[in-house]
Amino acid sequence: MRALTWHGKQDVRVEDVPDPAIVNPHDAVVRVTSTAICGSDLHLYNGFIPAMKPGDVLGHEFMGEIIEVGPECRTLVPGDRVLVICGISCGRCWFCQHDLWSACDNTNPASSARAVELAYGHAGAALFGYSHLFGGYAGGQAEYVRVPFADVGCVKIPVELGDEQVLFLGDIVPTGWMAAENCGITGEDTIAVFGCGPVGQMAIRSALVLGAARVIAIDAVPDRLLMAEASGATVIDEGAGDVARQLDLLTGGRGPDACIDAVGLEAHGEGAVGLYDKVKQTLGMQTDRPTALRTAIMACRKGGTISIPGVYGGFVDKFPIGAAFGKGLTFKMGQTHFHRYARRLLPYVENGAMDPSFVITHRVSLADLPDAYRMFNEKRDGCIKVVARP
């Protein structure tokens, strides 16, 4: 089959790879009808994630049709139309049972789980197409995918809904939703969203649905700010001056009640500290650039909350823990517990309350994906979200 494979920094190619098959009893094989490029795929594209091997198939946002099921698959049959959740969870371990699906004990193979244990203390769930630290599972930017624990990970989709309406329920809709939920939103709250990529856009809409009094969206790219404004956010253009000052003015000096960092480790930095981050990163002495996070911490009101869906991997320098302590901030973060939300949010799409397809700006074929990655990475051509039909 044809698949999008990784071959090094900023080198992805579409090539022929063996078709997947049933390996374990709870598996299913899915024929992909729609798949997307995620912002976190760019971390792979730009070489920030270790444990990648040439030939690895990328992609974790995908949906399609079941074509084969393993002997222990109980709720699915060939022909079922399903959305596949981007994280792989078993449903039976202590963590899955406690609704902490991305902390699943049993989907990361022992060798990669041990590597993560040595780095982080404990290993969580595996992901599709996200390096051998997360299980080395082939991803969904392909014609077919092997889906482990398919009963847990596949959401059946009614025929009335188009692919584009539901595709993002497998990743970025739950991510934006959980990021907003983690803010503990009340009707009095002003929420600041740093980063208006697809996750930021979903977080903005989720915060408004959850009842926020106002959402302030921050970015440097005009197309992204326009999209945020269309969703109902007040926008801050980074290009128009110091973000912290603008936030200060808009909140009467109090600061936002909660800040969502939807930027993560590849933040753009400026000034002396930005240069410091870049130099340290180039020398391999710092793995992540926490620019947005620092600004959020400084800007957030006393006693407020910092919610972090943006991916971080290693260590950051100059982390203002003193400011965070001094102001009594709460931090909520982590890999989204996708399974907690995917099925719960489907009714919002079914009854029209939510249509996540608004973020899509480009529709391509599998063969176009390498060019699409470059465009998405450079934020060219108004690119916000790319969907491919293999």
Partner: protein, 244 residues
Amino acid sequence: MNNDQIRMRTEGINVPRIERLISIGAGTLALVLGVRARSLPGVLLAAAGGALVARGVTGRCPYTRWRALGGGIELHRSILIQAPRHEVYAVWRDLPGLTRFLERFEAIEVADEKTSHWVAAVGPVKLHWLAQITDEQPGRFLAWEALPGGDVRHEGSIELSEYPDHRSTMLTVELRFHPPAELVLAPFAGLVRALTDHQLAADLIRLRQFIETGEIATGASRPAPPAEERADEETTGNFAQAGV
């Protein structure tokens, strides 16, 4: 307890002062002679001399420490499993079935009620021994030891208990073993311990995965071909690649 003894306990200093001076003296001599010899035996002499000097300067001798502990390598790990005690015990007690989880073990054959034959592979080296169950309380405790004459002397036990969260079973594994060529490997005891501890940790993860879900996680896209067909791979040439 005097200051010296306190230092020895808290800082890991286990070489007495006089011995440290002798060690530095003898080590320096060996180092100088070894370097001047300019030959392979000279290199080894210099290395031994260097080790003696280090031992004298730091006051810490890993070999002394290891001997004081009775030699051997000790492993101790616990893991929580979402299954009742008796179920976990039954899986462990099925000795031949353990090869599914214990990556380095090629075969485990039951000879009689208490005795089994074990074969482990470390790279090209195969290790054989007979093990005997020394104590058994079904659902709670199992202890065994290797019989003399085998390649690896060891003793081990597992204990199963109810974890305070009222839902998990805690499996605790204790192993003490003496690797073959123990005297040669003694300076590397720390490394051997780290590698075998890592192996045990990975094996226990596989065990938990199997008990909780009925499968062992793998990222492969296709099943691995069976051994016979793998041998035919070169001749047939059209067998799909195992795993991506």
